[in-house]
């Protein structure tokens, strides 16, 4: 299925281009760039504008705006003397709720917010008022979680894509963000505005050069470095590029164009258009793993997902004995894969081929089963999530392949076993299509009576090295 994101934009968060563009030529150029982007979005046929805003921090996972018509007057906390911003937006609440649900399915903590008077952040207000002034296209806004890492932010985008694909909607993705975010800490005359330092300016230009070449995933991979170099250490880091890149399938061959780059009280403000049309030179240079499901430490309160959960304890106490992986010539073993339930290696090399032992969803180190076990300690059936289990299987496979110097692209043949074909084949196939199916290996799916641990799916993989 093709990616439903029709275009992506990077836009600045400060209110100057909205409220007082006439006070500075650069602010006016940013306003003109907003206007050009607005026209492009209007012409794109998009059903939805999705905004990831760095000026909406959150703590309890991510928050998604779900008030169908949030209406208020916003005044910026710093630049209150520039004026007030009345807003009345059209939000696709149904999409917001679906995205929230999809987040949970992929292991994320998130919630929707729909409260009268909820303070929509300045970055979102500026973006929506300038990019969609007549509310012709409904919008969705998501917060930037202060504790989120790359994996969580990436999965946030993938769950958004899940909903876009399931609803058939086409969208424009927008990140409201500064480039360098160091403002002058003193008051300046509008005419004197400039990027705070030469270093900030040079880094901004380098990042924009990457974006103009369509190398979005490279910028995402450089996110931590960029943050260290040109970002004031506020609560929100330079993470929107993780989200935007994942929304674009982590590509490096987009068609990019910088519509404007100017100073906003010293910070770097840019309007960038990223067209999904391939520029034809997209080598993937990045090296960080892709991630499908979040397995982070969100459940601080209950420590769910750890070795302390009843499910994990059940496996440890009642399951088959766990073994150290078999060593031997050409064996491949890793601590990042589930502990074997017999004396065998995780994989074995034969020439330029790699044969993996059957891989299930159990988590390395804890034996927890994402999506839950299929039966309890007494053998009574339990509800479980086949998609979560399948994603965990694929992630375990990816770790073993990486340990062996192979990758998902190198997978040749997969034999899958399901303990309940009727119940689980559709869900398993859906995850397959999102993951291994992308790479085109042959596949055989068999129904079997049981597996050694209370899991529903296991895969046997042959890959090239």
């Amino acid at each position: 299925m093709t990616n439903p994101v029709l275009a992506s934009y990077v836009v600045p968060v400060h209110p100057h281009p909205l409220l007082v563009p006439e006070q500075n030529e650069g602010w006016q150029r940013l306003r003109d760039a907003f206007d050009e982007a607005r026209q492009q979005i209007s012409d794109s046929g998009a059903d939805l504008i999705i905004i990831y805003s760095t000026t909406w921090p959150s703590i309890i996972g991510h928050q998604i705006q779900a008030d169908p018509n949030p209406t208020w007057t916003l005044v910026d906390q710093d630049f209150h003397d520039l004026g007030s911003m009345d807003y009345s937006f059209r939000i696709d609440a149904e999409f917001a709720e679906a995205w929230n649900k999809a987040n949970h399915a992929r292991g994320l903590q998130s919630r929707t917010v729909a409260y009268n008077g909820f303070p929509i952040d300045v970055g979102s207000v500026v973006a929506l008022k300038l990019l969609n002034p007549d509310n012709a296209i409904p919008a969705v806004i998501v917060s930037s979680n202060v504790y989120a890492n790359r994996a969580e932010t990436t999965v946030l985008a993938k769950s958004c894509l899940d909903v876009l694909k399931s609803t058939g909607k086409k969208a424009v993705a927008v990140t409201a963000m500064s480039m360098s975010n160091r403002m002058f800490t003193e008051f300046i005359d509008a005419a004197d505005d400039k990027i705070h330092s030469l270093k900030d300016d040079e880094w901004n230009r380098k990042v924009l050069e990457f974006l103009e070449e369509g190398r979005l995933e490279d910028v995402a991979q450089l996110s931590r470095t960029i943050h260290q170099q040109i970002r004031v250490q506020k609560v929100v880091t330079f993470k929107p590029m993780w989200w935007l890149s994942a929304m674009n399938d982590n590509r490096n061959d987009l068609t990019g164009r910088v519509l404007a780059y100017e100073a906003l009280h010293g910070a770097g403000g840019a309007v960038v258009h990223l067209d999904p049309t391939s520029n034809g030179m997209g080598d993937k240079e990045y090296d960080e793993d892709d991630v499908e499901v979040y397995h982070g430490e969100r459940n601080v309160l209950d420590a769910e997902g750890s070795e302390n959960t009843p499910e994990a304890k059940h496996v440890a106490d009642n399951g088959p004995a766990l073994w150290d992986p078999a060593e031997g010539k050409d064996a491949v073993n890793t601590d990042s894969a589930p502990t074997p339930v017999g004396l065998y290696p995780h994989a074995r090399r034969v020439g330029d081929l790699l044969y993996l032992s059957g891989v299930g969803p159990r988590q390395p180190g804890t034996n927890a089963i994402p999506g839950g076990p299929i039966r309890d300690a007494n053998g009574e059936p339990l509800e479980y999530d086949i998609k979560a289990q399948t994603r965990a299987v694929v992630e375990n496979i990816a770790r073993i392949l990486e340990e062996a110097g192979s990758s998902m692209e190198q997978v040749v043949d997969v034999t899958c076993v399901l303990v309940d074909m009727d119940r689980d084949c559709a869900g398993y196939s859906e995850v397959w299509a999102e993951t291994l199916g992308h790479y085109g290996p042959t596949r055989t799916t068999l129904a079997i009576r049981a597996l050694p641990t209370p899991i529903a799916v296991e895969m046997k993989v042959i890959a090239k090295i």
Partner: protein, 306 residues
């Protein structure tokens, strides 16, 4: 007995200094009519602490509450609410399920402007906030409510300049020490009796999940032992009159406990009190969604010439 300290004196005074944290959970737990969500209580240790603080302050004659709130975050200088009255609806952007509060409060613009002007003379970047559409931050409202739910005394509201993020804790402390000094000078010259309040938590690492019933106290505890040790260390300094040690250790505390002292409020507060050497009164300590919160009063009236 109500202490009428300083009533006949023209010179103003700081009659009490307070650490008065602002997690909106405390307002939510009280079920006041101004707040829309309702609860089954929770965080009683802290709310009883606020009861004791209110009782203590009720015995001290004062004209104005001066609050520095870490949730009015400004990056370009320090700002002051500069209009005589604000009202509206405050919705917490992080915990909107807990805090949707209709506020109605008065500002002592004269004293605000006096502090502003002295800070400008001292070389600090400052600005009066005079946009009538401005929404007062929920930190100010929560602290204001917990200290004086009737809001029948005017406030001075000072923003939190984020110089710690732009530079360092040391630079933040330099600026906040100076802001505290000019705040004190302006109060003394005003002829008014003021209570100064820093609206911040101590250790500030949150849980990243929320229980189904937010006020379920079986889920509430400090996020880590290290945070607890830091909080107890700082509280011990407060209770034993060693405020200078808090200033000295502020960089380590702020960094290692991810403390909300990064907003400058605690340093500013101690500066307004000329870094007190007398013991503070600990009215309460408790955790809120994993963060450490202490309600502390420095009873200046008993230790300073007012």
């Amino acid at each position: 007995m109500r202490l009428m300290l300083g009533r006949t004196m023209a010179k103003g005074s700081i009659v009490a200094g307070c650490l008065a944290p602002h997690p909106p959970h405390l307002v939510y737990a009280e079920n006041p009519p101004q707040n829309e969500p309702t609860s089954e209580g929770g965080w009683e240790q802290l709310r009883w602490g606020y009861e004791r603080l209110r009782e203590s302050l009720s015995k001290i004659d004062h004209d104005v509450l001066v609050i520095l709130s870490p949730h009015w975050q400004t990056y370009v200088g320090t700002h002051f609410l500069g209009l005589p009255h604000f009202e509206g609806l405050s919705v917490d952007p992080i915990f909107p399920n807990l805090f949707r509060y209709s506020y109605n409060l008065d500002i002592d613009v004269e004293l605000s402007k006096a502090i502003h002007d002295k800070a400008a003379d001292a070389g600090l970047a400052v600005k009066m906030m005079e946009n009538p559409d401005f929404r007062v931050d929920y930190g100010t409202i929560t602290t204001g409510h917990m200290v004086n739910p009737a809001f029948d005394k005017p406030l001075v509201v000072i923003s939190s300049n984020r110089s710690r993020h732009y530079y360092s804790v040391e630079v933040m402390q330099e600026m906040m020490m100076e802001l505290g000094r000019v705040t004190r000078d302006a109060i003394l010259e005003s002829g008014k009796k003021a209570v100064v309040l820093a609206s911040n938590s101590l250790s500030h690492r949150h849980f990243t999940t929320e229980s189904d019933v937010p006020e379920d106290m079986s889920k509430e505890h400090i996020t880590s032992h290290a945070m607890h040790l830091w909080d107890m260390r700082i509280i011990d300094y407060m209770r034993t009159g060693q405020a200078q040690r808090i200033i000295d250790e502020m960089p380590e505390f702020t960094e290692q406990a991810i403390a909300e002292s990064d907003g400058g409020g605690l340093t500013w507060l101690l500066s307004t009190l000329t870094v007190p050497t007398y013991p503070a009164i600990l009215h309460g300590y408790g955790t809120i969604i994993g963060t450490g919160n202490a309600i502390v009063e420095w009873p200046c009236y008993a230790h300073e010439e007012v």
